[in-house]
Amino acid sequence: MLKRFRYQIAIFFAVMGPGLITANVDNDSGGIFTYSQAGAKYGYLPLWTLIPITLLLIVTQEMCSRMGAVTGKGLSDLIREEFGLRTTFFLMIALVLTNFLNVISEFAGIASSLELFHISRYISVPICAVAVWLLVVRGNYRSVEKVFLAACFLYVTYIFSAFLLKPDWKQAAIYSVKPILMFDTDYITMLIAMVGTSIAPWMQFYLQSAIVEKGITAKEYVQSRIEVVVGCILTDVVAFFIIVSCATAIWAHGPKDINDAADAAVALKPFGQYAYLLFSAGLFNASFFAACILPLSTVFTVCEGLGFESGVDKRFHEAPEFYWLYTLLVGLGAAVILWPNFPLVKVILASQVLNGVLLPFVLIYMVLLINKKGLMKEWTNSGAYNAVAWVSVAIMIGLTLTLALITVKQMMPQARAIPPSTSALVAQVQRLSNVKSYDSKRQAFKPNIHESRLAHLVRQAIGIGKFAD
């Protein structure tokens, strides 16, 4: 009996390849908080994004793994070979900055998960940073990877929780397929963050290297493709249940911003006293797991692209750039968290927005590369693939520009200077009614949602209680 069980576990891990690892790392602290925030603040509204996100996620990850399998080279290698050093350099700078914020967000995840148990971040973060560094540099990371992977099953708690909370399934179903756009900074920011957290740019570099390292060739690629697709769907199934849980447990009682781990843990309240424990364990595992992979993957990508020696099997003096950059990423990433009153959750969310802003640029290079006949031979993209990719690029750049535009507009002095007087309030409400009529044409809002949303917007408009319900 035990033997049989062991055998099954062995089979399971044998098929656990790069695709599933990537999928699981995808729901890191950034993922958990972004989805929680989406559900807590906008309820079921953002669910519609998950289908296009899944589609885009499958398309990007499939392209990466295909490129890895066919060329046997990493993404940054290919960009360097085909677009030269300067392009690579600036892309790497952008990637390092974005990933640095992501590293911070992983450590923020570690800090906030343990703060639920009143473990000070001044203790947890330094210890975890040193642990991550040693684990990776000493090369024992591989042996614990499977433990992390197994622990990813903690996400299942969200699925149970969602059912136990008895959400409004009808609404959830409707809003899963009904797109709703609002020209509101917070909403657009959140859309970008949701795309950015699901399809993080660093993940594409990581996945392609993992495929190459595993020695998967074009011939064996078909199995890998299945794995990648399954992984992508899994990621977003978890995302769906996180949003539904948060929508039911938090938003239904009034839209709310997630400010700390305790806020987000409410989504697991059917588990009663264990809610904190489950949330904390899940978040800690996800953050620590990603904190191991993310800085390492970043450094590999950069060193490959710029032609520096890399690898944990090298000695320090053989690969100084590699070790310095790695140590800096982990060290500074952890140190920033220790800044007094560092807003953990805000930075986590911001890092995901940055991911979303960088994504289209990485995508552009990917699509250009994968359409090169000389590189991919008969494995170039089909027309439909290119269409999805280019449309996504256009949408993401569009969203980013819109966000930039709105932000700039809000920063203009006159927009801020006017005190919330009666006239301003009237103007706001008028504007809101425009929103309403515009949306109702497309039948975007159900009246009940509309009311709470309206109330929320009015509160926002008069500038009070923005973060309170």
């Binding site: 060329t71 070979e81 030269g84 050093l85 060739t217 032609g307 520096f308 750039e321």
Partner: protein, 413 residues
């Protein structure tokens, strides 16, 4: 003296002037023709209007940061030429093998020496630049004046590889011939180093290297690689070439590799092999991978049980090819039954007439062909063995397991 060298980053964009000092265009690329000269820049490709022009090396009067001045205006339009290695297109940003540092590196820049000749000047490649200094040059190229870059870059330590230590990787065999690219540098390396390098390359490049390498070197290199990489390389090669390589491997390693391959491929390769190595390999293939039979090799020296020390010394002369790793002699009786295992060092302290049987340790440690892996490692550890004889069902010596096999085995875990 400072003007005796030029970087590729500086060469690109240099202005080219005709006899009367009129500007013809800018340097877009430079090419060497390895069949004629391995390092000299043979052509400069100059772009002005719509088409590129070719400037031959003997048409240049002077060449410096200030520009290229010609002494001959008979320029021909540029046509793509298979014998040309274009530095920007084929070398810059690509991977090459550093034969001395024994690693794969990526070219960031190229350093030329300016050769002063009687009636003109030419460039020849001295170094291939990697590392931060050349990265800086590339980033500043065309933005910061070259002379300023030269000053600033002295702050960073240079990191370059001599051109004659570089080996270019070219996946297309036709082009490899035309460009006169050889694997000489690679073939001089230690197989273990070469294996590390090849493992770093993409499948196409691996295949390219193995196709052109001498079968013996290829076999040694392949033996040093991870089993899954071995398999993917052999699968990518022509069956005939793969068979040549497998023949050169020791039967035990050959059997291991073939066991990794898909059955059809493995049979095809066996089919192509010579009769003798084929029989040995096929025999070994019968055993289970993680049993004694799968671990053992058949490179041992077995002598009749009545052999004397002098007789053994004589017999060893014949087995010269395996002396390097030999540390035990085996004695067998007329029926092939294993009788004793004699540590080789014992022979040196004994008189020539001593029978070998007298030198044997009291206990003979041996295992059956189907003994389990962990039990074997245990024996090696317990008795501090260097070699362990393996016997078949009838008690005949079938092969030996050596300590290095056990080390690889334990490292895999």
């Amino acid at each position: 003296m400072a003007d005796d060298f030029l970087f590729l980053t500086e060469l690109l964009g240099l202005k080219v002037y005709d006899l009367k000092g009129r500007r013809l265009g800018l340097v877009k690329d430079a090419a060497i023709v390895p069949l004629i000269h391995p390092a000299r820049v043979d052509r400069f490709l100059v772009g002005g209007g719509w088409a590129w022009l070719t400037v031959r090396h003997d048409q240049v009067r002077s060449l410096s940061l200030d520009g290229i001045y010609l002494k001959d205006e008979q320029l021909t339009p540029y046509h793509s030429d298979e014998y040309m290695l274009r530095l920007v297109r084929d070398l810059l940003d690509q991977q090459i093998i550093d034969g001395q540092g024994r690693k794969v590196v990526r070219v960031t820049d190229v350093t030329f020496k300016i050769q002063h000749e009687a009636d003109g000047e030419s460039l020849s490649i001295v170094d291939v630049d990697i590392g931060l200094r050349s990265v800086l040059r590339r980033l500043a190229q065309g933005v910061v004046p070259p002379r300023l870059i030269r000053k600033v870059q002295t702050l960073i330590a240079p990191h370059s590889i001599r051109w004659d230590h570089c080996s270019i990787i070219e996946a297309d065999p036709q082009r490899r011939l035309r460009l006169n690219i050889s694997n000489k540098i690679l073939e001089r390396m230690h197989p273990a180093d070469l294996a590390d390098i090849v493992e770093d390359l993409s499948p196409d490049d691996r295949e390219a290297i193995f196709e052109t390498m001498d079968s013996e070197v290829a076999a040694e290199t392949l033996s040093e690689m991870e089993p899954d990489v071995q398999a993917s390389i052999l699968e990518s090669l022509e069956t005939e070439k793969a068979a040549d390589i497998v023949e050169e491997m020791s039967p035990h390693e050959a059997a291991d590799v073939l066991a990794e391959l898909e059955e059809q491929t493995s049979e095809d390769i066996l089919e192509e092999m010579e009769v003798e190595p084929k029989a040995e390999v096929e025999e070994l293939l019968e055993y289970k991978e993680n049993s004694a039979g799968g671990l053992m090799n058949t490179e041992y020296v077995a002598l009749p049980e009545n052999t004397t020390v002098a007789g053994a010394m004589e017999a060893l002369q014949v087995h010269e090819e395996i002396l390097e790793s030999l540390n035990t002699l085996f004695l067998i009786d007329a029926g092939g039954q294993l009788k004793a295992a004699i540590p080789l060092a014992r022979l040196f302290t004994a008189a020539g007439a001593t029978p070998l049987l007298g030198l044997a340790p009291e206990t003979l440690i041996q295992v059956d062909v189907d003994e389990r892996q962990d039990r074997i490692t245990e024996l090696f550890d317990k008795y501090n063995l260097l070699t362990l004889p393996v016997i078949d069902a009838e008690g005949k010596l079938a092969g030996v397991i050596t300590a290095d096999e056990i080390i690889s085995l334990l490292r895999e875990k």
